[in-house]
């Protein structure tokens, strides 16, 4: 991967995933280093930015955190179209949220930027540790189930060209790491793209001309 040329990269990143998977918490942890137990639900979408130094370059992430509910789906394309990267988040203690994550991956594969760097985040990894202790004592199937999901996710990510990490917004485990990894994987040379803002072109044009529903 070429690392010469642009030292400052602006990169649009979108977070997608089921309600309550921890999208907002991950951003909050990454951007402000905080965790709030009762994070207000996201209505519409929220914007954040954060800069990372990777090797010889600085990557500035322009992050869109979206609402997760199925019903809000129609608002999502505007945020992922033209995005250079996406984190698809699921909750490791919730199988349904993993299914939802797979749907997002499919949608990004068919509708998103073909060069998009995609990360799959199995969030709330801290729950494993808490439950493990309990499970060892009474041998519930919980840990087994979580372990299965982890293997499944790993395999799914491999097959679909994503990279996979288990994260915890609560303990901060792997949060910086996942953004770092994305930053490293971003294409370094963006020819004829001095401002970096060109990545925003497509969605804005669509919206200006069609407003929605195209």
């Amino acid at each position: 991967m070429a690392t010469t040329g642009n030292k400052n990269i602006n990169s649009k990143l979108v977070l997608l995933g089921d309600v309550g998977a921890g999208k907002s918490s991950l951003v909050l942890r990454f951007v402000k280093g905080q965790f709030i137990e009762f994070q207000e639900s996201t209505i519409g979408a929220a914007f954040f930015s954060q800069t990372l130094a990777v090797n010889d370059a600085t990557v500035k992430f322009e992050i869109w955190d979206t609402a997760g509910q199925e019903r809000y789906h129609s608002l999502a394309p505007m945020y992922y179209r033209g995005a250079a990267a996406a984190i698809i988040v699921y909750d490791i203690s919730n199988q349904a949220s993993f299914e939802r994550a797979k749907k997002w991956v499919q949608e990004l594969q068919s509708q998103g930027n073909p060069n998009m760097v995609m990360a799959l985040a199995g969030n709330k990894a801290d729950l494993v540790d808490t439950r493990k202790v309990a499970a060892e004592a009474n041998a519930t199937g919980f840990v087994l189930q979580l372990t299965c999901l982890q293997e499944e996710a790993q395999q799914y990510a491999q097959e679909n060209g994503l990279f996979f990490m288990e994260t915890s917004a609560k303990t901060a485990a792997n949060v910086n790491e996942i953004f770092h990894e994305i930053a490293k994987r971003l294409p370094r040379v963006q020819p004829q793209n001095p401002s970096g803002m060109v990545l925003m072109d497509r969605p804005a044009e669509r919206v200006a001309s069609a407003s929605c529903c195209s």
């Binding site: 209505i43 609402a67 019903r71 809000y72 200006a208 929605c212």
Partner: protein
């Protein structure tokens, strides 16, 4: 009176006068219990007396008064409904009181005996709705339980809409001023349109959109449309379309700047419409907006949105994308003062253009399923 009065819930942190935990640094002067001068206090007393007279005991004179003097009512509401009467007046002006009286026992039935497919979704959001308000903070406390009941009841009452994120903020705001059952019927009045046009489209999963390319001739000059496309939250989309145009018409310079910076209203205004300013907006301002919203309808949301942009336009036109997005979600305190912002909002006229742009939007995007079906037969070549 059904007004909920926050009891002496022990809280380690100081609260503002609406029951929200005060943010540590940025303390809003309007949220504080201010030492009022005797003069102010008396003026407020007189205002409440006037309102009580207008309403009559338990709202008995209200309809009569509104019929006789709608403009007086409008003027008074625009100045703000006295907080101690707000819950009752909201029920009167929204038409929810009538719904309640016409449907005795229905709410109880919905809460106790019915089950909803949305129960888990609702539970997931309960502790994430107004998490900084004492009434909703306590896990499984009365606030959270009421919120759950209202939302569940609505999701059963209207299974097409079910539960949608955002509704919790509406219900939460109402629950601070009235009982569960009253809040439920007010939600029904709004979404089903007791007085104004129904707003359920804010939350509907989709409405169909005809795709002309799929029109096929079926003989005798009749055409069959194929309803292939659908749009989620159709009314949000329509409102955003209308708002975008209004911004360009009322604030052309800012509109131009937005285009250059690739900002469109769905990036900053969707939650204004979805929650009628009850989400992440100063509460004292939200209440004043709701006073007018319930009496005059959704056009106040457009007016307030435009007034906010207008007030800040000189600053906004200078900002690049990122700062602009931030500014559009964090308006300065002086812009949020109801007594500055609302008079400005009232002076902006939008009704006629809203209607025209609704037509335009429908022509461009097709109508909802029902009205479109009628179209089908008329569509002769």
């Amino acid at each position: 009176m059904d007004d909920y009065e926050p009891g002496p819930v022990p809280s380690p942190r100081p609260l503002d006068r609406f029951g929200f935990v005060k943010p540590e640094l940025n303390i809003s002067p309007d949220g504080l219990i201010k030492g009022r001068s005797a003069c102010e206090y008396e003026r407020e007393e007189r205002r409440v007396r006037k309102w009580r007279k207008m309403i009559g005991a338990g709202g008995s004179d209200w309809k009569h008064y509104v019929r006789r003097k709608p403009h007086v009512v409008r003027r008074r509401i625009r100045k703000g409904i006295p907080d101690c009467l707000r819950g009752l007046v909201w029920q009167l002006i929204s038409g929810s009181r009538d719904l309640l009286l016409m449907n005795p026992g229905v709410y109880e039935q919905l809460v106790i005996y019915e089950t909803s497919a949305s129960e888990l979704d609702i539970i997931r959001d309960i502790s994430r709705t107004f998490p900084s308000h004492v009434f909703f903070q306590q896990r499984h406390g009365p606030g959270q339980r009421s919120l759950y009941n209202v939302l569940k009841a609505y999701s059963v009452f209207d299974r097409d809409v079910g539960y949608v994120q955002g509704m919790g903020f509406l219900a939460g705001l109402l629950l601070l001023y009235m009982s569960e059952e009253d809040a439920f019927w007010l939600l029904v009045a709004l979404l089903k349109g007791a007085v104004h046009a129904p707003m359920e489209g804010l939350y509907l999963a989709f409405s169909f959109v005809p795709l002309p390319i799929f029109v096929t001739e079926v003989g005798d000059g009749y055409f069959r449309w194929r309803w292939q496309k659908w749009v989620g939250l159709p009314l949000v989309q329509q409102y955003l379309f209308q708002f975008d145009h209004l911004v360009r018409e009322h604030l052309p310079k800012l509109g131009e700047h937005f285009t250059q910076e690739m900002i469109n209203p769905s990036m900053y205004a969707s939650q204004w419409f979805i929650t009628v300013f009850s989400y992440s907006f100063p509460f004292h301002l939200a209440l004043r907006i709701w006073d007018v919203f319930l009496y005059e309808g959704v056009k106040i949301v457009f007016k307030v949105g435009l007034a906010l942009l207008k007030y800040c336009a000189d600053d906004l036109v200078k900002l690049p994308f990122e700062k602009l997005i931030h500014a559009l979600r964090n308006f300065p305190k002086d812009a949020m003062d109801p007594d500055t912002l609302l008079p400005m909002a009232y002076s902006i006229k939008v009704s006629k253009r809203l209607e025209e742009m609704k037509q335009e939007y429908e022509n461009k995007n097709g109508k909802t399923a029902e009205s479109a079906e009628c179209n089908e037969k008329q569509k002769q070549a």
